[in-house]
């Protein structure tokens, strides 16, 4: 057993990075509860934790961006018995996105939370925020299937709480959170049922080990059913059309900072889990998996691209419009996924990232507008482009990126996606991608027109600096990643290759014999 | 059109005044004759120098002169023929076309009095 070994190699801080990625925000959460009497302190702890996590994620990404992986064994228990954190290009990229967005959203949140959430609840809010943040990181970083579920629940439960925190502004946040709770729980249950079925057939929960044990029994009905449960369960978290019904309300009524954070990260993490299970645990060669993607996910992805875009066009509330646009954009990610080839996966990965920062800009912009205009209805933000030139200009940049105008991040992902569709020979799909981008032009134009081409509805000052600066940093990131694709495309391509290489490199060579840790046995 | 029309030739710049010689009666003829003389001199020189052109015809005496003269005549008559076919009124492409319009005066120095450096 692990504990019977004498530990002879002291781990350095560098070796501990994978766990620190999670532990820092995770322990910051209770710390906020214990010491965080004042809002300033709570915010500061949250921000510092997030900043540290961001730095760590950057270090991790740098280590794995060229391929390869890091493995960390919790408590010294070797996989597959123990829980293993495994970092490769796929999740390092996502960790980078999550912690980056969080680090940008938190400065924005300072003023936004002050305005939207009652003073006495703010420390609790930051605690839940950190838990959600840590949960998302945990889902991403772990190499243990059940651990995914645990962290998923941690992030989901805290998400319900921080969405409900919007109730101080609009009571409908409560029902939105409650609906999400019911649906999210069903989704998580499906997921855990899937895991249960897998465990039943394989007796293991380590992802690499699972992959090895599933491979010889693909005809097994139980395993196939497990796949269906996992896809549908995660599909709900992703908000695959038509399982998106929780999303518009949750995003609309949540506090602005929460929406900005969740829109940029939560669904992305769910997509990641789906990717991980579809490619690492199950392998893309399985016939049933291909059929599922081609016959179910692909049509729904295309449906999402159009139906959600149409709904977005007709919305009267900017925040809600963006929520529907998110559903449409998720369609693109699933589309890339269902192409089941390397460039499609790279498109999904890069769109995860690019759409994340794009939506972060837009939702933060909406938050700033809401702060000054009172609400995000088109009627009340009319003409605010003149009163709040900086915020509005950043939102235009975000809007352009949402459409996919060359020179913005959005263009890169759509470009790669269209290329991938061509590569697969699916011309009509490529055409549909371009066509649906036109719908994005319409709804983006609607808010640009509202912001600029109307007489201002009210006098308002520019948003405070703590908001404008993060908004603009993110907006510039949209442009930067639209021009310099070094980081994003390299990471996405490596990630796609990693995923497509299936379980190789994931599994321990001989699971049971290597249960002992690397150290020598003492008795 | 400029309002600063110098009243007499004396108001002209020095170089301009010098050049008015060409407009004096007979000057044109003098120039033409000078040119003829120069051409004749060239023909003489052409006889004296040794030539090693790429083509034999280049070495023929007065080849370039004849070729130049004929070419020019060809160009003029060719152009006249072309004008017969290609000439159109200035509003051929419509009254708003670029060919029809004058250069906007407000972008020139004509209407501005004192923008001279």
């Amino acid at each position: 057993m692990a504990t019977e070994s004498v530990h002879d190699v002291a781990l350095t801080l560098h070796d501990q990075l994978p766990i620190l990625q999670l532990v820092v925000p995770f322990l910051a959460a209770p710390l906020v509860m214990v010491v965080g009497a004042g809002r300033g302190v709570a915010w500061l702890i949250a921000f510092l934790a997030s900043l540290a996590a961001f730095a760590i994620s950057a270090l991790l990404l740098a280590q794995v961006i060229d391929g390869g992986f890091l493995s960390y064994q919790i408590g010294g228990w070797a996989p597959p018995l123990g829980i293993e954190y495994r970092i490769d290009a796929v999740n390092a990229f996502l960790l980078f996105l999550i912690s980056g967005v969080s680090t940008l959203v938190l400065p924005f949140a300072y003023e936004s939370v002050k305005a939207e959430i009652a003073e006495r609840n703010q420390a609790l809010f930051y605690t839940c925020y950190l838990l959600c943040f840590a949960g998302l990181l945990g889902v991403t970083i772990t190499g243990d299937a059940f651990n995914v579920f645990v962290f998923l629940e941690i992030s989901s439960l805290s998400t319900y709480a921080i969405i409900a925190a919007g109730a101080d502004r609009d009571r409908r946040a409560l029902t939105a959170a409650y609906d999400y709770l019911v649906m999210g729980t069903i989704g998580a249950t499906f997921f855990v049922i899937g895991l249960g079925l897998l465990y039943m057939m394989t007796g293991t929960l380590n992802m690499g080990d699972l992959a090895d044990r599933i491979a010889p029994q693909t005809d097994n009905r139980t395993i196939q059913a497990a796949f269906a449960f996992i896809v549908v369960g995660m599909g709900l978290k992703i908000a695959i059309y038509p399982l998106h019904l929780w999303l518009p309300n949750a995003y609309t009524y949540a506090p602005s900072a929460v929406t900005a954070f969740l829109a940029a990260t939560a669904t992305k993490v769910a997509v990641y889990v789906l990717l991980r299970f579809s490619f690492s645990v199950f392998s893309p060669g399985f016939a049933f998996e291909n059929y599922t993607y081609e016959l179910i996910i692909l049509p729904f992805a295309i449906l999402a691209m159009f139906a959600a875009s149409f709904i977005a066009i007709f919305q009267t509330d900017l925040k809600r419009m963006l929520a529907y646009s998110s559903i449409a954009q998720i369609g693109y990610m699933l589309l890339g996924l269902s192409l089941m080839n390397a460039s499609g996966l790279a498109a999904t990965m890069v769109h995860l990232f690019n759409h994340g920062i794009t939506k972060a800009v837009l939702f933060m912009g909406v938050g700033a507008l809401t702060l000054r205009a009172g609400s995000s209805f088109y009627a009340s933000i009319r003409g605010m482009g003149r009163a709040m030139p900086l915020t509005a200009a950043a939102m235009v940049v975000g809007g352009l990126s949402l459409i996919g105008v060359p020179g913005t991040a959005g263009f890169i992902s759509k470009w790669v996606l269209v290329q991938a569709a061509f590569e697969k020979g699916w011309w009509p799909v490529a055409f549909l991608i371009v066509l649906s981008s036109l719908l994005a032009v319409v709804y983006v134009w609607r808010f640009v027109e509202t912001l600029y081409l109307h007489e201002p509805a009210r006098d308002a000052a520019e948003a405070p600096l703590t908001m404008v600066v993060p908004i603009w940093i993110t907006a510039l990131a949209c442009v930067w990643f639209g021009i310099n694709t070094d980081i994003t495309m390299t990471a996405a391509n490596t990630a796609a290759e990693t995923l497509l290489s299936g379980s190789t490199g994931l599994a321990e060579p001989s699971p049971w014999t290597s249960a002992l840790p690397a150290g020598e046995a003492s008795h | 059109m400029s309002d600063h029309r110098p009243a007499t030739d004396d108001d002209l710049p020095a170089l301009g005044r010098l050049l008015t010689w060409v407009d004096r009666p007979g000057s044109g003829t003098k120039l033409f004759r000078a040119l003829g003389g120069f051409c004749a001199a060239l023909l003489v020189i052409d006889l004296l120098i040794s030539k090693h052109g790429h083509f034999h015809i280049e070495d023929v005496w007065a080849f370039y002169g004849v070729y130049g003269f004929l070419s020019f005549v060809c160009v003029i008559y060719g152009a006249k023929t072309l004008r017969f076919f290609a000439k159109r009124n200035e509003d051929y492409y419509g009254a708003q076309a670029i060919d029809r319009e004058d250069y906007p005066l407000d972008q020139t120095g004509v209407t501005k009095e004192a923008d001279d450096a």
């Binding site: 499906f190 896809v231 709904i311 | 059109m1 301009g16 407009d23 072309l82």
Partner: protein
């Protein structure tokens, strides 16, 4: 430090700065100084691939410096400085930003080591330059600019298509010598040809340049076509068809120039004719011929700019540019007239002027490679050049019959710009070695042999004599108010009438069906709003149960798909 910045970026920065600096002397000075710095940078840059960038897995070379690109880059920087000096008086932000962007794009394209970079800058020149036309701010200029833009962007699109085809075929985007054969190379060739104003693809040039602003035309005349010449020299040197294309290019514009009334259009035709010489040089493709092309491009940029400057100065002072309205201006604009004469002598290739030492290289090579007919055409064209650029421009502008106008001499900054340019024209003509030293290949050629000088003088003087005879006998075509149709009649007159007829037919049919389709469209929009609008079924807040039902359905369907297949 300067080495690490691609030269094009210096110009782009200049464009941005020009927006920030207030109008006036500071901005004008900025626009003159930075191109000079850029010229110095180009002069001192080491050869090699200085700014490699990876984009989408493509290896781009933003700065490929070798002797061919350096000579073009150098003259582009120089003429940008001179053009901006000429435009010192401008207080027009549009032009002052567009000009650096345009020049920067052209220079970027020259230093582009791969086709993708070339494409971006190629389109950059198209888009930036059209503002120099639109800056005239008249309806005619707007329409002309639009035609120009369509053709130029079209050239870029064809180039892109060619690059894509070539890439698919060879897997390389390197911008090196190509051989015509595949569709891809033909597309690229065609794209270059449009910008280089090949016969029948030429008309945008004569259409657009006279329509630009006074200072805009000077800048325009330098870059676009010479960029195309550079691209051809880089990509298609030694392609035989170019010899014949070039020969035709030298010929047909002569006749049009002779009867054209608008002086700037005369110069545009003359530009087209001069391009022909360069294209022939490229077609011949020997090292010396390419030297000739580069040298000719170099000097041509200078003297053509000088001619456009002098005509522009007249236009600036009188508001007129048509031969039928001009004449006798030497009295009050003697310096401008002198500079114009220097330009005219240069373009006509009089000995001791720059045209002489450059054109000779090309003629010599055409002859050396036994292209007798082409050689004959080029010599013919040399005499033709004299007729319109050498005689017509200075004679009918500054001499001939007195128009009665007594405008002031050109502004000082214009005179300085013209003076420097004229000086360069003569300097290069007198000391050809200075130019020969920077040409792409070693030069072993002496223009000032007795036979060559005498031959050239004979050619020109007898042509002058012919002019004298014809003019004095009244046989020289008169300058009259008219325009001449060229190939542009196809898209400016014929195509519109066809479209017009078609439009009428279609509109008749449309009228009949409009009501029907209007109702249909309206119905579709209403339907969409009813289903997707805020209160629509698709966007409504659904009960949680409905969602759970969906989960069940989706799970059922997924299971069915998995089990059945």
């Amino acid at each position: 430090m300067l080495e690490s910045i691609p030269t094009a970026f210096l110009f782009f920065a200049m464009g941005l700065l020009a927006m920030a600096v207030p109008k006036g002397a500071a901005r004008s000075a900025l626009l003159v100084v930075i191109p000079l710095i850029a010229a110095w940078q180009v002069w001192t840059l080491p050869e090699g691939n200085l700014a490699p960038v990876t984009f989408f897995g493509l290896d781009l070379e933003l700065m490929r410096v070798d002797r061919l690109s350096r000579v073009f880059g150098l003259i582009f920087c120089l003429i940008a400085a001179l053009g901006n000096l000429y435009a010192w008086h401008l207080k027009d932000t549009v032009q002052q930003v567009a000009a650096p962007l345009y020049a920067g794009s052209a220079i970027g394209a020259v230093f582009a080591g791969d086709l993708v970079t070339l494409f971006f800058y190629w389109e950059g020149t198209a888009i930036a330059s059209v503002f120099l036309i639109w800056a005239r701010r008249t309806l005619g200029a707007y329409n002309t600019g639009l035609r120009y833009l369509i053709i130029q962007v079209g050239s870029g699109v064809i180039l892109m298509a060619g690059i894509a085809l070539l890439y698919a075929e060879t897997g390389s985007i390197a911008f090196d010598r190509m051989t015509l054969g595949s569709l891809g190379t033909w597309c690229i060739f065609f794209a270059f040809g449009i910008k280089c104003a090949f016969p029948l693809l030429h008309n945008w040039l004569q259409d657009a340049y006279p329509a630009a602003t006074i200072t805009g035309t000077v800048v325009l005349s330098a870059f676009t076509t010479k960029l195309a010449v550079y691209a051809l020299a880089r990509g298609f040197a030694g392609t035989e068809i170019l010899i014949y294309i070039g020969a035709i290019m030298t010929l047909f514009p002569i006749f049009f120039a002779e009867i054209e009334n608008d002086m700037r259009r005369v110069l545009s035709y003359s530009l087209n004719n001069q391009l022909g010489f360069m294209v022939v040089g490229i077609g011949v493709g020997s090292e010396m011929a390419l030297n000739g092309t580069a040298a000719h491009a170099f000097v041509h940029i200078l003297y053509k700019a000088l001619l456009f400057m002098s005509v522009g100065a007249v236009l600036y002072r009188t508001g007129k540019v048509k031969a039928s309205e001009l004449g006798g201006l030497y009295r009050t604009m003697p310096l401008t007239a002198t500079f114009c004469l220097v330009g005219a002598a240069s373009i006509s290739a009089f000995p001791l002027f720059s045209g002489f030492i450059a054109k000779a290289l090309i003629l010599d090579q055409a002859a050396a490679h036994h292209h007798a007919i082409v050689w004959g055409a080029l010599v013919f064209a040399s005499a033709g050049v004299l007729s319109h650029s050498g005689i017509k421009i200075p004679f009918f502008t500054f001499f001939a019959h007195d128009s009665g106008m007594r405008p002031k001499e050109a502004p000082t900054h214009m005179l300085i710009a013209m003076g420097i340019t004229a000086f360069l024209c003569i300097f290069i003509g007198v000391f050809p070695g200075t130019l020969y030293a920077i040409l792409p290949y070693e030069v072993d050629y002496h223009p000032y042999t007795a036979a060559h000088v005498v031959g050239q003088l004979l050619l020109l003087c007898f042509a002058l004599l012919a002019f004298g005879v014809l003019y004095r006998t009244g046989r020289h075509p008169a300058e009259i108010r008219c325009i001449n149709v060229d190939s542009d009649v196809i898209y400016r007159k014929a195509a519109p009438s066809v479209v017009h007829i078609a439009a009428r037919a279609i509109s008749a049919i449309w009228q009949a069906h409009a009501g029907f389709w209007m109702r249909k469209t309206d119905l579709v929009l209403r339907g969409l709003y009813a289903s997707h609008g805020p209160e629509g079924r698709m966007a409504r807040v659904w009960p949680t149960g409905a969602m759970v039902l969906w989960i069940a359905i989706l799970l059922g369907v997924t299971l069915a798909v998995i089990f059945v297949t």
